[in-house]
Subunit: 217 residues, 4 copies
DNA sequence: AATGAATGAGGGTTCATTCAT
DNA sequence: TATGAATGAACCCTCATTCAT
């Protein structure tokens, strides 16, 4: 499993790398916190500035607009949230060698996304919230999904369907159930449930079993 | 009116009954629209008043505060969204007569909640959004769930588990998968997917099959 | 000279009539003062509000924008500053009866405009200043001039030129010298010179003589 | 260089000579443009810096204050706008030799000032604008006028009045009409009228004739 | 009860000015 | 000397809320 390392190489913490000045990092960090706690509309640049230990004007020097501040926080997420590398490396592994199981695929996917969600909780909360109101976010999300994920995902599903491991539904429906189950499980686990109540292994095993059984032929 | 508890009698449209003056209804209707479109924080009482065709002052005569207006919109939802009657009537039917299947239970649940979601789309959008920020909503939701739903739900799950129709997990976990699957399916179906793309029957059948298989022993 | 009264009927004080609320009048009055003293760009809505004894928000309730406040001050001026009635009544008098002299024409014009300038000094200062920067003001001014003044003025000039009282220049040039002399004289008299240094009668006589001699055949 | 006072030697382009560093020249040039286009109050040091291709801080290193930048632009104008040399050289010529006519005097004056106005249009626009708001500019202007111009001008007017070429008004009034006619003519010609509509010679001849006739005995 | 003018605190944003580099 | 990031006061404007009518 030499390719497995790839997954771990995805920079999971967003907005903390890049060549940002220290003040910019502070501002981003603070903005993420405040946006996440109060929502974009209810957050005030004044509070963000205070929490960042920075003058309010400094925010606007770097991010001309409150909206642009939001965008510069949310946009980088899209390239990470859908984690193309997970699919890419997996697909290569499976199609080249043919030994990976559907369960293995799900396990990697869930594990990886759980880790990602844990590390970027406030960011994800912002994203989910604003997707409801900002059309550009929805559009961008769809585009990234269609361009980078959908094709590979479909190929993988088709592969296992042809092998007789999956129910005879359209690939789109199957994908929909997989994703919505994973997403809702993650939200439940990470956002709603009391922390540590359910240990990760058990949670992952259950979710995998639920999906596999649910989609078995 | 002995049948008042009947599923079909649940008033599905919220905030339009009760003893409200015409102006109050207009205000609530308008507030729901605006809150739903822009989010609570970004909505202005001025816009709500204009869309309702009343003076801005009139809003505050009835709902002392913008926040209280939100609350008086969202709170009644809790007693409906969790639809105790569905469970209650179902439980009575099953335990009294013993003839209903797990699939029948799911079918009624999903059908009913799909209908409800369709009829109260804007309201639900508001609720979901604000649950993220207003702790009191989360608390109230949990309380209503614990007091009215959880017990009956657990009994029903236990019943089918004892009959050997369900996987041998803790009831809580099973409930979690059922609810999160239904919720995420509904959100996908009602909010995200292009309308009419998937006909209701096929959608319901698939979802039921997915859950049943996923939770089969 | 029954028509002469018309001239006196021109409402010379601008922005104080109309159906304005008391607060609106206060705001306009205050805005005129502040704009006139500091210029539009350097004037702050805060200062205008304070001087008007009104909350800053009240300004924006009536005039959505600082710019619109300026416009609603300046625009009405255009219809008055060029005082079509002066020309109209004069033209009628002259062409109907034929007894008025070029000197009489000038005298009425200057007297009337002097009075107007005196009564609307701050307004005129604002107008002159902003004409330099706001293209829409220049355009509007030109349009009003072309549509209401130019034609009548030209007819009058032509009439006296034909009578041999005026130099044989193009009407446009003659009009230019008359207007620029009157304007510059008024500015000098009203804005620059120490008040009362030169009594009005002497000033008017001199200016008339200067123009008449300057444009004599 | 005995001829240094010669009219032709007056440096007509302001603020480009002196011992200024290249950066200073760039800043001044840029500031003149921006002040002229937007007005002093509406001009931002940021825009000036950008247009000059220097850092914003550099402006304040040379001109401690935005106001001082304005002053250092406007002040040198006073010594040029009133062009003492015109009068001085003219006066010498006339009184020493006695051959120059009033018309010749006017012609030199107008021609010279027209040229000057053309070359320093943006500067003059700034000056005129700010004279309305900055008392110190008005004071300085008056002082320069009194100290350098008024006396010589009066002598010249007196000379021609004594020769019987001018109307029998007070010298001050005569000066006023000459200056205000020239100024308003120049403004009309240089700022308002479509360029080249009136050729210079015709314009100058007309203006001279207008003034001479207007002030003829 | 209903209105809508008025309020003023707070919103996002701009900008002259400072200062460490 | 020149820079440009940083500042924070002030700017224009919005908005929930009040209150006289």
């Amino acid at each position: 499993m030499t390719e497995k390392d790839n997954i771990d190489d995805i920079p999971e913490l967003i907005n903390v790398d890049e060549n940002l000045t220290p003040k910019q990092k502070l501002i981003l960090q603070s903005a993420i916190e405040v946006f996440s706690e109060k929502g974009y509309a209810a957050a005030s640049t004044n509070e963000i500035a205070k929490k960042a230990g920075v003058a309010e004007g400094t925010i606007f020097r770097h991010y001309a607009t409150k909206k642009k501040l939001l965008i510069s926080i949310v946009m980088p997420l899209f390239s990470h949230i859908l984690a193309p590398t997970v699919l890419k490396s997996f697909k290569r592994e499976v199609f080249d060698n043919g030994y990976e199981s559907f369960e293995g695929f799900l396990r990697v996917l869930i594990k990886n996304r759980l880790e990602f969600a844990r590390k970027n909780l406030p960011l994800l909360k912002i994203l989910i919230q604003e997707m409801a109101f900002q059309e550009e976010f929805r559009d961008r999300f769809q585009k990234v999904f269609r361009d980078n994920i959908y094709g590979k995902f479909k190929d993988i599903i088709k592969y296992y369907k042809d092998k007789g491991e999956l129910v005879d539904w359209e690939e789109d429906d199957i994908i929909r159930y997989i994703i919505s189950t994973i997403v809702s499980s993650l939200i439940t686990k990470v956002l709603i449930m009391p922390p540590k109540e359910l240990d990760d292994e058990k949670f992952i095993d259950q979710t995998i079993r639920f999906i596999i059984s649910g989609l078995k032929k």
